[in-house]
């Protein structure tokens, strides 16, 4: 009666906590939703179309790659959707359709499947695509639009939005804009110092609300932060990477600004501009490409923050988060190598601990 038909029984444990890849991906998508919807509202229908195209291309590329390699489709785990989603959030909201499609293809085909698929890639696929697009098509990739909420007069409707995304007509001057970081970089290069160039543009209130030019999903700091806290609360991510990224960015920025406010943006501007919050909570925390241990994650995050600040302050590009993430991704194996946890009963070097020394401590 109480007999099972199994020939070779599986090893323990015979219970599971219920976590799954699909559930993790779903949590991240839920966390991204507020900032994404805000981006849609802020930048109108073209942003929606771009999002659909980017995500769609990622999923399609994943399916085709896996079919070509004769693998089972992993569409159900939601990882390709997430890659496309993150990429879309980092693109200029009115970018043409081909940018989204090309980016989606690069992210999945080159950034992920060429390395062997889920879990095998060294670099964050969305950031690989973003950087590839940025260095290949710098003009298109830095054409920002001023916020033009969906509900505002003159905002493009569904059809007009489709036309903007598919045909990419030249943007009228009234709509074209510069992001804060881009503006600061341009003015500095013209010899104008920041005290004169920015005026009220660094007002943190404006930045928190996100009503300014920037990538599709980067500007609504408060929505991204809410999503990040949701991820922390659900245990999908831990605090080490986000905090380290923000600290790595804010600490040198604060020092720089204190020493020379005319040439260095304040810490608040750094934290609330560009991909800082998005990057800290959603991109740097990518499991596959970040270190394994808490200490390693602190090193990794701080490295990203610091490098972002360096690129923003002295590099050729106004934004440096994507480059910083990729560079630290490359260092992840090295960080993992040097940041191993201590094994119980052993010293950090791996030798058994001294029993005699402990008997005195008790």
């Amino acid at each position: 009666m109480s007999t099972l038909p199994h020939a070779s029984p599986p090893a323990s444990p015979h219970a599971h906590g219920g976590a799954s890849i699909a559930r993790t991906m779903r949590h991240v998508q839920v966390a991204l939703l507020p900032a994404t919807l805000f981006g849609f509202w802020l930048f109108g229908w073209p942003a929606v179309h771009l999002f659909v195209i980017t995500v769609g291309t990622c999923v399609l590329t994943e399916l085709v790659c896996q079919r070509l390699m004769g693998l089972d489709s992993s569409f159900g785990d939601g990882s390709a959707v997430l890659t496309g989603w993150l990429l879309a959030l980092s693109l200029p909201p009115w970018a043409p359709a081909w940018i989204g499609a090309l980016g989606g293809f690069i992210a999945i085909a080159i950034g992920k499947q060429l390395f062997g698929g889920l879990g095998q890639n060294l670099f964050n696929p969305a950031m690989v695509a973003r950087v590839a697009l940025l260095v290949s098509f710098p003009v298109v990739m830095t054409q920002w639009v001023a916020p033009l909420p969906m509900t505002a007069d003159g905002a493009p409707g569904f059809g007009e939005g489709l036309w903007i995304t598919l045909a990419s007509p030249p943007l009228p001057d009234a709509i074209a804009s510069a992001s804060l970081l881009g503006h600061a970089k341009t003015e500095l290069s013209r010899g104008v110092d920041l005290l004169h160039a920015l005026g009220a543009a660094t007002d943190p209130l404006l930045s928190w609300a996100g009503a300014r030019a920037g990538s599709l999903g980067e500007t609504g700091a408060i929505f991204l932060l809410a999503g990040g806290l949701y991820l922390l609360a659900t245990g999908v991510i831990r605090w080490h990477i986000p905090l380290a990224v923000l600290a790595g960015l804010a600490i040198p920025a604060a020092i720089g600004h204190a020493l020379d406010p005319a040439h260095y943006l304040p810490a608040s501007a750094h934290l609330l501009s560009g991909a800082a919050i998005l990057g800290a909570f959603f991109i740097a925390t990518d499991y596959v490409t970040s270190p394994n241990t808490a200490f390693g994650q602190l090193v990794f995050g701080f490295g990203i923050g610091l490098l972002t600040w360096i690129i923003r302050s002295w590099g050729g590009y106004p934004e440096g988060m994507a480059f910083a993430v990729l560079l630290l991704n490359a260092l992840t194996p090295v960080i993992d190598r040097y940041c191993r946890p201590r094994i119980l009963g052993r010293t950090y070097r791996g030798a058994p601990i001294d029993a005699a020394a402990q008997r005195g401590v008790k």
């Binding site: 007999t3 020939a7 323990s12 890849i21 119980l344 052993r346």
Partner: protein, 507 residues
Amino acid sequence: MGFIDRFLRTRKFSRGIHPEDHKRPAADAPLRKMPLPERLYVPLLQHVGAPARPAVAVGDTVSKGQRIGEPQGAISAAIHAPTSGRIVAIGDIVAPHPSGLPVAAITIESDGRDEWTPLTPCADPFALDAAEIGRRVSAAGVVGLGGAAFPSAVKLSGGRDANVDVLIINGGECEPFLSCDDRLMRDRAADAIDGIAIMLHATGAREARIGIEDNKPEAIAAMRAAAAGHAKIRVEPVPTRYPMGSEKHLVLALTGLEVPANGRPADVGVVVHNVATAAAVRDAVRFGRPLLSRLVTVNGVCVREPGNVEVLIGTLADAVLEFCGGVRADRGAPARLLLGGPMTGMQVPTLHVPVIKGSGGILVLDRDEVGVRTPGPCIRCSTCVRACPVGLLPLEIARRVRAGDLDAAVKFGLKDCIACGCCAYDCPSHIPLVQYFHHAKGELAARDRHKLRSEATKTLAQARAERLEREAREKAETAARRKAAPDAQPAPAPRPAVATPPAGESA
């Protein structure tokens, strides 16, 4: 320094996991005693070490508590008849083991009278010396009842030599579903405390600390009440954190001491015994009563009346399950039959196997409770790293094992793995990590055996080559001598040298 160091080390045990415990309502159900079964199947190997040698023959009649298996070797345990009756068979039965392979056992047909063999009680155990207590415990066949089943006498009588100062009693019972130790502490607290006092006396330890997970308030209260009169025995609640019942982790949580890798608790002056073992030691020393029964948790959503049952060793698990109302029909086919807990217990192909001294649980789980699905790829989420109570990188070890690089896996700490299952429990990709580690450890053992054997073969071959060479040389010399002096008497033939195999190897 000492305090901070101790705090930091105690804090280390924030790792591990917190599995859903499923202990109630079985834990709260009153203890039941199983009626005498018709036949008992008593395996000769129920402990770590060498199997016992049968001391009876087929056809013999035995009384309850009579010794039917003699221990063999330094680490072994005696086996006793759980009831009176007739020996009907000595031979192989299906082992309570995942393989379902045969194991030698003595089958007793009960005569229904349950008559005891004469016992030798002892009025004052505290007048006995450690060696005598060890002898009585050994004679009673007491082994660790927490699951590992290490012969208890070895740890008890070794206590004074090892200079033990703290006796730790494991009442952690961190395995989900299991509550037999909880039940024992609630219902037999006085016996357990008496046993602990005897163990304190035997080991010469300064004090005893009873670690009980704080999800068992009734057990904590009962043990506290029973220990009230003993200055040297303290009950210490520990956080409910799997694997708190692991020896090294309990020692860490209670004393802040860390047992060195490859070492034993005795190295830091600690000895650990399970709380049920303490009760068994008391029975053995005070009354001369051998270990004939144990508490078994019967649990799982498929069981009709889950609870704890006092079961004679050798009773078929199937019969115990039937006693608990059998399997519920409305739950569909059971997905897993387990002996022990779900984290470290073993799946058995059938419950037609006897309960042995180490069996703490009989579980019948359905698909939802098992919850294990088809494995996906590792996404390096490092959940396993966070979960591992030993501080390993399970994902890195698994990667090396998968690539066949066992040396690298060992460098990452494969041999330090305690197979607690925390990593696999939390893995979102459902990768059977523990299975990888078991496999790798098996491969390593096989490789070591092979290496030993090939070294022995090499030594033998070398010895043979040397012998042949020497013989040839001697023959040549004899021939040369004969040639030089053809009239001389022929020399006696040289005795061939005998190659002796190297010590310790019987190849």
